[in-house]
Amino acid sequence: MPLILTDDQLMIRDSADGFFNSEAPVAQHRALRDAADPVGFNRDVWAKMAEMGFTGVLVPEAHGGADMGHVAAGIIMEAMGKNLSAAPMLSTAVLGATALKHGTPEQQAKYLPLIAQGAHLLALAADEAARHKPAHIATTATPSGNGFKLNGSKGFVLDGAAADTLIVAARTSGDTNDSAGITLFLVNPKADGVKIDRRSMVDSRGTARVTLNDVQVDGADVLGSVGEGHAILEKVLDAGRACLAAEMLGLSGTAFTMTVDYLKQREQFGQKIGSFQALQHRAAHLFCEVELARSATLKALQALDEGSDRAPMYVSLAKAKAGEVAILATNEGVQMHGGIGMTDEYDIGFFMKRARAAQETFGDAAFHSDRIARTLGY
């Protein structure tokens, strides 16, 4: 597959850019932050995203989705990154839909159409370690009745406070850090023993701590096979990581553009600061870095669409590179804006905050460079 967007994908890009630019611009993010919104996104926007087909981007057509694939999902996430648009796209349309494609026909028939309609929100309750470590699952699922009883705590559940269904990773066997013995469950957040605490985070997105205290789940709520959840989880995470890379690419692009615009307009010492060669070189270098992140991200999304064996490696490449570039782009953005960049009134700080949170989500650059090295055998 040539490393380029198809004509269809170019159209999706134009429509996604237009949509988020008008329906969920940075100003909306600011308003949600100021209002300390309980879910951290605007439900009307989500409904419109469903109309656009965005929520069903990874849902098969048979289940009412648009089934446009990961490149398209990444394009949508990139557009959201450009505008810092908040919506449960990652948690529901990417993580949720990917997980449910591994469900039973009944589970698929129940949830996937709802996802495509934007009528049901999911949240992945997997991570327990503050530094991402997917096999680090101490939450237990012990046999009970015709199902299991869940006990444990999940600290960093994206959109956990808004979710209609939680996808919980718990251990049916093995020790913490074993990849074998992890099982995924579909859990109703209103069930007895589930406690959801909304957390206030630096990026003002909706994140919750989920505590499970003797939560009874049915055998029919197992997603995939008992003890085999790790493989599904890795696929779900890889889809999420690639889309996070796309989001970070988008936010890097905007931070970069804002900065270059500022360099052209701001004067110091009687000159446009963009005429200072040291800043020019840093901006030019940053331009190159953003281009590299773009290539790596597109490759990862394409590899997922192709079902390539090398997809995990490319996903890690994209997450590592886009993560480092997002940090660099927002750091340089704030620095080159000078004092104004430090003020809450100006938007660039939001990009820096979101970059940091996205970097920490599902593995930072250190995690993914380690994963790449292991994949390449060193």
Binding site: D127, A129, A130, R131, H132, G155, F156, R199, S200, M201, V202, D203, S204, T207, R266, Q268, F269, G270, F276, Q277, A278, L279, I327, N331, V334, Q335, G338, G339, G341, M342, T343, D344, E345, G349, M352, K353, R356, A357, E360, T361, D364, A365, A366, F367, S369, D370
Partner: protein, 395 residues
């Protein structure tokens, strides 16, 4: 027993008797810092007493002359005092721009009346000062300031505005750069004025930062009358004082950490605690490499601070190194905060929470990004090194 030993014994006894118990506890946050001033809200009776007692002895400014409210101590005595305070973990009684910035400039450039009026009140924490340097739109180009002070015979009439004035909303007086001669070339028409923030026509508006706090203000002057005797130094020579002060500020920011004092735990210790070891090395090897690289630079930097100070004291110094310390120190501190964010992972993203300290790391991280902007950006420091130290030609 040498004089110094005697001084140490006396000092130790006095501190034991006079430092309140709660002033020997570590500072837990910005709130615990005492800034003094007319409207000072003491957090405890201990805090009030501690300032009063230290101020009375002049030990808030141990090396200032006693006639201006200082302790009149020799450098060696001041070091003994610092050691003895450290021994009992006594807090600093007073944080003050008056002490750190205006005081040294007043001692060098102020006239006798100004010294007598202001220095004792700074020493006792009675007047809290703020600095009026930067202006909206001027940024690093400080000398392009436009706030005017028109000579009205017996007073100046000040009009204009300042930005990034630290705690202007809480300060009693301001030391302020103003343009007294609009016709003179950029650097020459500038003067250094002191005036009361309670003067009619002064107003302030806090600036909210990305870290959520508002330590800075925009400050507006609308026909503010300032008596002529409040001019410090010569009219039109304010730039010299400003440069002198900027060097002080630079040293402060470069050398300090923005986390509010006290001994900082090393990045690697924090990482060890939070991430743990695996076969005796940090379990995350990629992060370990970055941490080691950072700590090498941090160690070499602190040794450089030590060396520069030793060289300056002995007269070996190459001078003009404050830009280096400011540049490198602030860049290192930013890197440190980024590494701590990485080490803490998703927990570091917390903004607000129920537990004490929730959100502190994220806010300190965001705050650290200003280190390389305030007090002269990193770019300005590099310009200064290139021009003044390396003598490279102008563009």
């Amino acid at each position: 027993m040498s004089d110094l030993d005697a001084f140490r014994a006396e000092t130790r006894a006095w501190l034991e008797a006079n430092c309140p118990a709660d002033m020997r506890e570590p500072i837990r946050g910005d709130d615990d810092v005492c800034w003094g001033g007319r409207n000072c809200q003491f957090k405890s009776e201990g805090q009030r007493l501690w300032l009063e007692r230290m101020g009375a002895k002049g030990w808030t400014v141990p090396e200032w002359p006693a006639e201006y409210g200082g302790g009149g101590l020799s450098r060696a005595e001041a070091r003994v005092l610092a050691e003895e305070m450290k021994r009992i973990k006594a807090r600093s009684p007073l944080s003050s721009f008056g002490i750190w910035m205006l005081g040294p400039a007043l001692l060098k450039y102020g006239n006798e009346a100004q010294k007598k009026e202001h220095l004792p009140r700074i020493a006792r924490g009675e007047i809290r000062w703020c600095q009026g340097y930067s202006e909206p739109g001027a940024g690093s180009d400080l000398a392009s300031l436009r706030t005017s002070a028109e000579d009205m015979g017996d007073h100046y009439l000040v009009n204009g505005s300042k930005v990034w004035t630290s705690y202007a909303d809480k300060a009693d007086w301001i030391f302020c750069l103003v343009r007294t001669d609009p016709a003179a070339p950029k650097h020459l028409g500038i003067s250094f004025l002191l005036f009361d923030m309670a003067s009619p026509g002064v107003s302030t508006s806090p600036i909210k930062l990305i870290s959520g706090s508002s330590p800075f203000c925009q400050t507006f002057f609308d026909n503010v009358k300032v008596p002529k005797e409040n001019l410090m130094g010569t009219a039109g020579k304010g730039w010299e004082i400003a440069k002198y002060l900027l060097t002080h500020e630079r040293d402060m920011i470069g050398g300090s950490d923005s986390t509010g004092g006290g001994q900082r735990d090393s990045v690697s210790n924090i990482a060890k605690r939070l991430i743990g070891l695996d076969a005796a090395i940090l379990a995350d090897t990629a992060l370990r490499t970055d941490i080691a690289r950072h700590e090498i630079n941090a160690l070499a930097f602190s040794l450089t601070m030590e060396r520069v100070m030793a060289e300056t004291k002995s007269g070996q110094g190459t001078g003009a190194l404050s830009s280096m310390l400011k540049y490198y120190g602030t860049e290192l501190n930013k890197e440190r905060m980024q590494l701590l964010m990485s080490i803490r992972g998703s927990d570091g993203l917390t903004w607000e929470g129920e537990e004490k300290g929730d959100g502190d790391l994220a806010r300190s991280w965001l705050r650290s990004r200003a280190n390389s902007i305030e007090g002269g950006t990193s770019e300005v420091q590099l310009n200064i090194i290139a021009k003044r130290v390396l003598d490279l030609p102008g563009a």
